[in-house]
Symmetry: C2
Subunit: 340 residues, 2 copies
DNA sequence: ATGAAAGCGCTAACAC
DNA sequence: GTGTTAGCGCTTTCAT
């Protein structure tokens, strides 16, 4: 393995000149620059990044804390993270946390240990201790997707409340009045905001909320399947189900079908996220499209802006969402509506 | 930020003793060890990993080259990689290559640049130049899932030919004789092996292969959707379709339904991978289950065994697969079978 | 524009 | 069992 000294000798210059040729070629005379470049070529020299990082005190790595990469929505976010990071010369250290706070704290410790320059957190939890950073310096973190209310760092999200309201309004406009909701984890701000939007829409339409129509879930198809089962058992079942993720919607539809019900003829089902499968499922899902890749990309840009201290970073960024109406939602059956 | 020297001073020992307390506590006397640990505690010392890595010449990072993380099968493999790596004290550098060989080569260069100690390649391509490693030393790579025939490193896969044969036999046993195949990319060894297994089964059953029933795809739902469309247009359409991925199967089913066909009543469809959605799609998919997380986990174990030079590493590992029969495959309709 | 030299924080001989 | 010390390969003043 060649090193900078060998290259310097070969080129007949000092190591400083080799270093400069690599980092700021413009301050090296063209003749010297060429000499050095030929020497690099000839020796097959690759700078030892461990040394570069160590010496320059930047790892040029970003840690991304993801609740679960097995979720296709997060997979897309991460694809966006990776691409943007690569474009900016950063590596991505993947941290699949499964929502374990102790693990998230440990991963965030990679910043203190200099393994990563900053973290992108996709869950509403601050993994840094209070004294993580000297006063005056910004916390090297961006919180995206599921965002802490009082995040000590820039955040990036959609307007979940407005999105949920829009989706619920769509259901109401179709004629539904008994609208269930299969939610995300209880304590998540995501759940809280979306439930708020759902209630907003009900209230605006003069529909009294019915707590028996609120079911917990965890965003997985299995939880949607189970929740749909319990909704089937309530005294007066819903004519529409709003699921907080497409994966749960797919699970719910599967359960409804097992019960001999047809979607949307008997029950309408709507999702959230607009994952790739949403348009291929049967029926194709009505859902809220979230800009998954953009979440990743923007989060990286914001984080690097913090790390490299260039300019102000917008503290609270809200990305656009979109209601996508497909085939899983329709007016309720007449006999059901009459009864409602 | 504290450093090892400060801790040494605080504890009244040398820096070497601090280092030893961290790396091999057993060779330090209990009394000293405690003193050092208290000093570490008191100063909030975190070893600078960049320095550790630099000095010890190991980054303790693994680069994982994945064709596309947006595919749920690969997402699971990567979840396995991450968990195993973490357990062994390694970080995971995610490289979403989209199958671009130039990018893969560049990512593999992270090993030469000392950013990563080794790579896990999930595609059938060797991203290392011939002179990547000095003679006698093993290539720091494991090739998993889609494997090169003459991989210059240990490989990890399932027996794709046998799996495809088993799945095709299942279709034949149901009474199908016109069995189409929606394939992966043409040049992939995966495709070649699975097509071979498919042909094995046809031959064993005395069914003449029909090239018009072979359609290319790229593992995405969109490609399955398109391929099913073209299969619908052939002169004598298939009664069963074997898709090389569940995602393509889901896309294909969606297309068949658009054409007014019912699965499995009119056409049987089988997938491959057994992704989470396979059991929630309508109908639930008959498929070949692959041990996705195990792929990731084993790949990490094998790679670390190479890197740390402990023991022999099995050069060609084959993991078990399993035929999972659900509801998307059934006997062909009588009128169709009679015609066949 | 270039070179000399001082480290970055740590590990690993080597000595005691 | 512990201390001393020489670097690892590079960047970055500070001279020239």
């Amino acid at each position: 393995m060649s090193n900078i000294r060998k290259v310097a000798e070969l080129a007949g210059v000092s190591v400083a000149t080799v270093s400069r040729t690599l980092k700021s070629p413009d301050i090296v005379s063209p003749a010297t620059r060429d000499k050095v470049r030929r020497a690099i070529e000839a020796s097959g020299y690759r700078p030892n990044q461990m040394a570069v990082q160590f010496r320059s005190r930047r790892s040029h790595n970003l840690a991304v804390l993801v609740p679960t990469i097995a979720n296709t929505f997060f997979a897309r976010v991460i694809a966006g993270v990776q691409q943007a990071a690569r474009e900016q010369g950063y590596g991505v250290l993947l941290c699949n946390t499964l929502g374990q706070e102790e693990d998230e704290i440990q991963y965030a410790g990679m910043v203190a240990a200099r393994q990563a320059d900053g973290v992108i957190q996709l869950r509403a939890f601050n993994p840094f201790p209070d004294d993580a950073v000297e006063p005056g310096r910004p916390l090297p973190m961006v919180n995206a997707c599921e965002v802490l209310d009082d995040a000590p760092c820039p955040t990036l999200r959609i307007d979940n409340r407005a999105a949920a309201r829009t989706l619920t309004e769509h259901l109401i406009a179709l004629g539904h009045r008994r609208i269930a909701m299969i939610q995300g984890p209880r304590r998540s701000p995501l759940t809280r905001d979306r439930v708020a939007g759902y209630r907003d829409a009900l209230a605006a339409a003069g529909i009294a909320p019915d707590e028996t129509l609120l079911c917990p879930g965890d965003f997985t198809p299995a939880s949607g399947h189970a929740a749909a089962g319990s909704l089937l058992a309530v005294e007066s079942p819903p004519t529409a189900i709003f699921c907080e993720s497409d994966e749960m919607a797919i699970g719910a539809i599967s359960r409804l079908r097992q019960a001999g019900l047809s979607v949307p003829a008997d029950v309408s089902v709507a999702g959230f996220d607009d994952i790739a499968f949403a348009s291929y499922s049967d029926p194709a899902l009505t859902t809220i499209a979230q800009p998954a890749e953009a979440f990743g990309r923007r989060a990286v840009e914001m984080l690097i802006a913090i790390l490299e201290g260039r300019g102000e970073v917008a503290p609270r960024v809200v990305l656009p969402h979109e209601l996508v109406i497909r085939d899983s939602t329709a007016p309720p059956r007449d006999d059901i509506r009459d009864r409602g």
